[in-house]
Amino acid sequence: MKIGRNLIQLVILCLLGVSVALTLVLPELPGIESRRRTLEISVLIREADTALWSNARLGMEQAAVDLGAELRFLPLAQDNDYASQAALLQREAKGGADAVIVVPADPEGLAAFLEEQSIELPVVTMESPMPGGRACFTPENGEMGRALAGAFLEDRRGERVLLLDTASRSTGVAQRLQACLQTLREAGVPFEVQKAEAQSLQRELPGLLGQTGAGAVIAFDYAATEALASVAQELPEQPLLYGVGATGAIAACLEKGTIAAAAAWSDYAAGYSSVQEAARRSRGERSLNTPQLGFRIVRGENLYEPDNQKLFFPVMY
């Protein structure tokens, strides 16, 4: 019995000694290393022009560097082609992406698609929230719509306003439109809602303006706003233009005065936060409690205020 007890004690001693040795070499072991493996995150936008999301992309790339991830930035061939977006997402999921950030062309449809195909990937959205408990990084869309309406009402000198519906299935954009619409209706202002394609907007806008007799246009997504910005110079009557976004082109137009006001927010921060969230979800860590992004209405005269400067010109170069 004494021998037995001795043996047990020896065994325990050896075990403890081994555990000491183990903890010394712990970081070298493969198990630990996999925690810092580079994640592959795919970013799907719903337009063909990646330049629209350049600020967000900057934020995403910075986050990728900080958090050890690799980004794939994937535009669509055709604006708002929700079928191909779904197919693209499926391909990415199969291709081994760890997480996907998507600006959904059709959030409801995409959520249903993911369910159907039992795609388990962590999905984070921008612009429109997607059902299914997924994180979304965007300012409050309803607020934004109301604010845009408010900006127009301030400037209004009796014009009719044209609301451009360029992304009908995108719930985020639709929310903005609806909120704006509601505010205008309550104010008793005449308005028109027209469906349009951002890509062809440049050509169609004069026609639309003539058709509706509108003296002001409000756009609710990036592509439409960019189109407005590019066509604004040539319009003879210089209608009041309103849009969303904080790119350099919009800044230039605000300065020139061709765009009266824009709803701007830090896309950089949205991009950064979305990559952060995607990384945390795919690593199984807890989500951070990021506060809702705020936005503000910026006009030409306050473009160069310090806060707005930081918004519109994020890269300090």
Binding site: N6, L10, L13, C14, G17, V18, A21, L22, V25, E28, L29, P30, E33, R37, T38, E40, T50, V65, E70, L71, R72, F73, L74, P75, G95, G96, Y317
Partner: protein, 352 residues
């Protein structure tokens, strides 16, 4: 008692050794595990300045082509694009990051062409092939390692083609071009970045194309506008103030500067007909617009799409370990030249 201790120790030692041995084997095995799966082509692209219109076109083409290749060949291509912001130190750091990430091939649009040696050495150490594009490093540096390539167009050729456009116009529409009728072409030259190879060669060969056929030329002014439209406009305004109607032709080393010159002319009140003959190089979309509008008389197409395609193909071949010559036509083992093409108004109808 001492015997017990001794026997304890010996048993402890044996057990400890066994465990350590096991650990060593594990460790050896797992260092291999830190490499990632293969079937992804990781491409690092470091551009000198993303604002540069031509460069951004090339990058856009590359992204598009990469997507197409993915679909076609069912592989994954991952592009990482960084902006050097005209700072060689920044670009160096970006290259370091690419190497850390484990890029398979790195494409560099070098900021300072005399500083290529450092980059090549780094790439050689990591055994990662390096493709320079659009801004050509010094020849000696290209020879440092076999897996260094240059994709670009011969700058001399672009200058020559530009000069030929002016030559043809001089020869065919003499009256319009030679304003003061003295049979001498008075021109101003808007140069690119000082020290840039394209600057030197285009400047030289554009004029050579004229003088070699015996046309007499007189340089009224020549200054660097750093590839920049606004700066070119500034310089042009100054010249218009000083020289006014004397200027018959404006040679610009690139389209941005040509457009700047046009801006200056327009704001000085000159129309498309009354302004001097402006030619540029690059054939960027705004330049093509200007040709359609008649303000820009001609440009030289720098095949951005071709450059993008060549780089993608070459990268794929290199990453698979194939002979690069199979993907593109190599000259002197390192250079892949893309041909320039002159674009004038008459070519545009074909372009559409």
């Amino acid at each position: 008692m001492n015997r017990t201790i001794k026997s304890c120790f010996s048993r402890l030692c044996i057990k400890g050794l066994a465990v350590l041995l096991l650990l060593a084997i594990l460790l050896g095995g797992c260092t291999g595990g830190s490499e990632r799966e293969e079937s992804v082509l990781r491409l690092g692209i470091a551009v000198y300045q993303q604002e540069d219109t031509f460069i951004s076109t090339v990058v856009q083409h590359m992204e598009r082509l990469a997507r197409e290749e993915e679909l076609e060949k069912d592989i994954k291509i991952s592009l990482t694009i960084t902006d050097g912001r005209s700072n060689q130190t920044v670009q160096l750091e970006q290259m370091d990051r690419f190497l850390d990430q484990g890029c398979d091939v790195i494409c560099v649009n070098i900021v300072d062409r005399t500083a290529a040696a450092v980059l090549i050495d780094k790439a050689e150490e990591a055994a990662v092939p390096l493709i320079f594009f659009n801004r050509q490093p010094v020849e000696e540096d290209m020879e440092r390692w076999e897996q260094v390539y240059y994709v670009g167009a011969k700058a001399a050729e672009s200058g020559r083609l530009q000069g030929q456009i002016v030559r043809d116009l001089w020869q065919n529409e003499r009256g319009q071009v030679d304003r003061n009728g003295n049979d001498v072409l008075e021109y101003v030259m808007l140069e690119g970045e000082p020290g840039h190879q394209d600057t030197l060669l285009r400047t030289k060969y554009a004029i050579d194309a004229l003088t070699s056929v015996g046309i007499r030329v007189r340089k009224l002014a020549s200054e660097s506008a750093n590839w920049n439209r606004a700066q070119a406009a500034q310089k042009m305004s100054l010249w218009l103030e000083e020289q006014g109607g004397d200027i018959e032709a404006v040679f610009a080393n690139n389209d941005d500067m040509a457009l700047g010159a046009i801006d200056a002319c327009l704001s000085a009140g000159l129309s498309a007909e009354s302004m001097p003959l402006v030619v540029g190089v690059d054939a960027t979309p705004p330049a093509l617009e200007a040709i359609r509008a008649g303000t820009l008389k001609g440009t030289v197409l720098n095949d951005s799409e071709g450059m993008a395609k060549t780089m993608i193909d070459l990268s794929l071949a290199l990453s698979r370990g194939e002979d690069p010559a199979s993907a593109a036509k190599l000259e002197e083992g390192h250079y892949i030249w893309l041909p320039y093409r002159r674009i004038e108004a008459k070519d545009l109808s074909r372009e559409e």
